[in-house]
Symmetry: C2
Subunit: 193 residues, 2 copies
DNA sequence: GTCTATAGGTGGATAGAC
DNA sequence: GTCTATCCACCTATAGAC
């Protein structure tokens, strides 16, 4: 196979790379950065992930999978759609409190410098977010815990965009509360009262 | 002096660099890219802008100045605050239709890799956006062309964050209408009826 | 102001020993 | 799996001729 990225070492590489992409961007980190932190060599990293593009693609699929699991947990634990939206917002806030940007929000800004497989995976992440939100919004509207006008898809896209943008800007101010006040306001507007 | 960036050539350099930053990010372009497009040499660029940081700082101040002028024009031409917000949103949409991200939104994602003077300038851009929005929102609320609950500052921050995020994501889909539907929805929510 | 040439460093990636 | 050594392309930046 081209890449051996399935070991414990591979996971540690992914952990470090993930943090570096979320803080510095895809073009702002290098194999040398990871090697220094892992106290190994660049050559060794290339054994686990043959190319930076392969590493990047794996990062996105792992991040998406973790996000999917987190949303599944929210669905399982919280029957109220309004409260599920608050939990969704808190997933973003948790990332921000680690001084990180959403991995895919960061990659969206690097979008036109990314290899094609990574571009498609980034869009896929947003699509999955939107789909979860549409389900949640429609169910909440039916149950009257949420209210909003127009297609759920439009509201979902507004939420994803606003949350990503609020993270991006809050990070520049080192102030997570900037995200939280924006997120609270947007979710409150959907409250079915 | 350290830099001679005030000639017509300097302006052409800034035009090219601006587009490259808006599409590829600060770490995604080089003096070589500019030189190739301007059909000159990297050394010649260094005469106009001694360092990449100096070029970057100048880019932000010029972008901010142009934005300020655009907002002044909106203020002069449009007495209705709701319509001024629509014009504000359209300034973003115009950038996006050129397949570009907002310069400072892009730099916000590169934030922790930027030299300190650039970081401060990026925050300054957002501050000025927010201040203009606060003035507009408060005036619209007084005149009853706008309505919203809570501090204008919170609404202003929500708008900046949402517009930046909507640009970021719309660009990944190559679909400016994704921005426009989000922006329309957010502005419509403020309509004083 | 623009050029050639080059310095000194880092990028991603590979060969081959162990 | 990890290492040393190395390749070559590219990076920002400077020296000095024109």
């Amino acid at each position: 196979m081209a890449t051996h990225g399935n070991s414990k070492t591979a996971d540690r590489i992914l952990d470090i790379a993930e943090r570096l992409v979320q803080t510095q961007g895809y073009n702002g980190f290098s194999y040398a950065d990871i090697a220094a932190e892992l106290k190994t060599t660049k050559a060794s990293l290339h054994y686990h992930f043959a190319t930076k593009a392969a590493l990047g693609t794996r990062l996105i699929s792992r991040y998406g999978e973790n996000f999917r699991r987190a949303l599944e947990a929210v669905d399982g634990e919280e029957p109220n759609a309004l409260r599920r939206l608050r939990r969704y917002a808190d997933l973003y806030a948790q990332v921000l409190r680690k001084d990180r940007m959403c991995l895919c929000g960061m990659l969206a800004s690097d979008f036109f410098t990314l290899p094609k497989p990574m571009r498609e995976a980034v869009r896929g992440f947003f699509d999955k977010n939107e789909a979860w939100l549409v389900r949640t919004l429609e169910e909440g509207r039916r149950a009257r815990t949420l209210q909003f006008a127009g297609p759920a898809e439009e509201v979902a896209r507004t939420l994803v965009a606003s949350f990503e943008g609020a993270m991006l800007i809050a990070r520049s101010y080192g102030d997570a509360s900037r995200f939280e006040s924006v997120a609270s306001r947007l979710v409150a507007q959907l409250d079915g009262k």
